[in-house]
């Protein structure tokens, strides 16, 4: 890693572009092209080092470190209130870290605001599916494709997931969509923005079982085909662990266990033991 060279030097914009270029190299020919396979690059697309953060005086994250290699899916699971969403907010730049650093492809982005990190390739699916109520689904996709263009990847303006079928109208305000439809729209527009590192916070919550499974498989497919790196917070443990390359269990704002064979956590009582038992690092 060349942290020392880049830290705090040179215009930020240049730094963003260098991140993008390196991610692009890893991705291969860009969207639709033959992507690099799996975690071959070996360099973390995303690294979180000793991050602490909280709301006001209340500390929620206490020294979290983790890495997501290029093309890798890392599942983050844990009980409600463990700090999973908080972790994603810090990575996305929406909540400042009181300690620690966030690296994107080796570059320290800890001091970049959220929109800069988005330009550098981070796509963040907010928990609960944030949409713009007065904009139409088409407007959402247009906004998303503008970011994609900014990232230099060229937005398709088309949802990568065949969700359009679930919208009654692509021209009515999104505020009139149902909860599940909103979630689908939020997910579709983040995917249409062509991120290089995807942060998903329970992307399938509220979706009908069939659509949820389709979405989860689609994200896994994107990760495999385009070396999309995914940090994936999920409550559907049984669905996400088989798709993930690695998994982290977050408890009380700390990684309580970690595994490179996530399927093993699906064994009888393993998770219960990890979550409520005295285990530290698995």
């Amino acid at each position: 890693m060349n942290l020392e060279r880049d830290r705090g030097r040179g215009p930020r914009v240049a730094r963003e572009f260098s991140v993008l270029r390196r991610l692009r190299e890893a991705v291969g020919a860009g969207p639709g092209g033959p992507g690099a396979t799996g975690a071959q690059a070996g360099r973390p697309a995303l690294a979180v080092q000793g991050v602490s953060a909280g709301y006001g005086k209340r500390e929620v994250l206490r020294g979290v470190s983790l890495e997501v290699l290029q093309g890798e899916i890392v599942a983050v699971i844990g009980p409600n209130g463990a700090g999973k969403s908080t972790l994603l907010k810090v990575v996305a730049g929406l909540l400042p870290a009181s300690q620690g650093h966030v690296f994107l492809c080796g570059d320290d982005v800890t001091s970049l605001p959220a929109h800069r990190r988005a330009h550098a390739g981070i796509g963040y699916m907010i928990q609960g599916g944030a949409v713009f109520p007065s904009l139409t689904p088409d407007d959402h996709l247009r906004l998303a494709s503008l970011v994609a263009r900014r990232r230099g990847i060229g937005g398709t303006g088309q949802p990568l997931v065949p969700f359009s079928a679930t919208f009654p109208s692509r021209h009515g305000p999104a505020g009139l969509l149902s909860g599940g439809q909103r979630q689908a729209l939020a997910v579709a527009s983040i995917l249409a923005s062509n991120p290089a590192v995807l942060l998903c916070d329970e992307p399938s919550a509220g979706l009908a079982p069939g659509v949820a499974r389709e979405l989860m498989e689609q994200i896994a497919l994107l990760s495999r085909e385009r070396a999309l790196s995914v940090l994936w917070v999920e409550q559907r443990v049984g669905d996400v662990l088989p798709l993930a390359d690695r998994a982290v269990l977050l408890r009380d704002g700390r990684p309580a266990a970690e595994t490179s064979s996530p399927r093993e956590w699906l064994g009888d009582g393993v998770l219960a033991e990890l979550t409520f038992g005295g285990a530290t690092r698995g």
Binding site: H119, G123, Y124, A130, L146
Partner: protein
Amino acid sequence: MNYIWHILVMISIYAVLAASLNLVAGYTGLLSLCHAAFYGIGAYATTLLMMQMGLGFFPAMALAVPLTALLSLLIAIPSLRLRGDYFVLATLGFQIIVFSLLYNCVRLTRGPYGIPGIPIPSLFGVPVDTVFKYFLFSTTISTGALAILWLLIRSPFGRLLRAVRDDEVAAAALGKNVPAVKTMAFALGAGLAAIPGAMFAGYMRYIDPTSFTVGETIFILSAVVIGGAGSFWGPLVGSAFLVALPEALRLIQIPDAVAANLRQVTYGLLLVVLMRIRPRGIMGEYEFK
């Protein structure tokens, strides 16, 4: 007949005022309480440029617009980082400061005495010297200003404003620079408010600080809310309604002794009733939270 033209001139002025505030409050969701300050800065800047620098009406107005937009950054840059309620208070403070500057910088503005004898604007060498001519003149300017606003709102930038209003966090996560977008919207709204300022100065040919008070800000904001914030036609309907309503009430025959008070009460009641029936305004799109 002049009476009708006079009312229409005032409507054309308020239409641009309300529509420019709508860009800020309705489309971007920034509840600003200093719009009359920008209106006043526009009026004074145009007047002083005409009278002290000898500029014509249009060059003076064309300079007043960017000047007002620039001055708006004085309040926008420090206060747009504050959260909702604090931003509202900061703009209120700015409104009060601007009023007291207009009132107290006697050397520049003549303070409470106001500035009389503002030259009559002229168009292609023809002086706009009757109320009817001024009606044609001001309607043309205001149509132009409203056309600019229409284009802004329909553009991708307009879509961006609504996105920021709807969900700042999601907009930032989608790579939008939220503070920059808000600052731009605020400055554009302020710059556009200088146009009715110039129209007012050229029409009245006398200005003093009392036309640019907090009360005036509230009046403009009422036109936006009553017409419907976040809708293009709302503020136009709202201004027509608020300017014409008191005139209409004048037509009702009531004994002189109570007339003025009764009119005020009726006016207030009508506003309350209207907001009960149509909480999002006559053409309503967006409700203030």
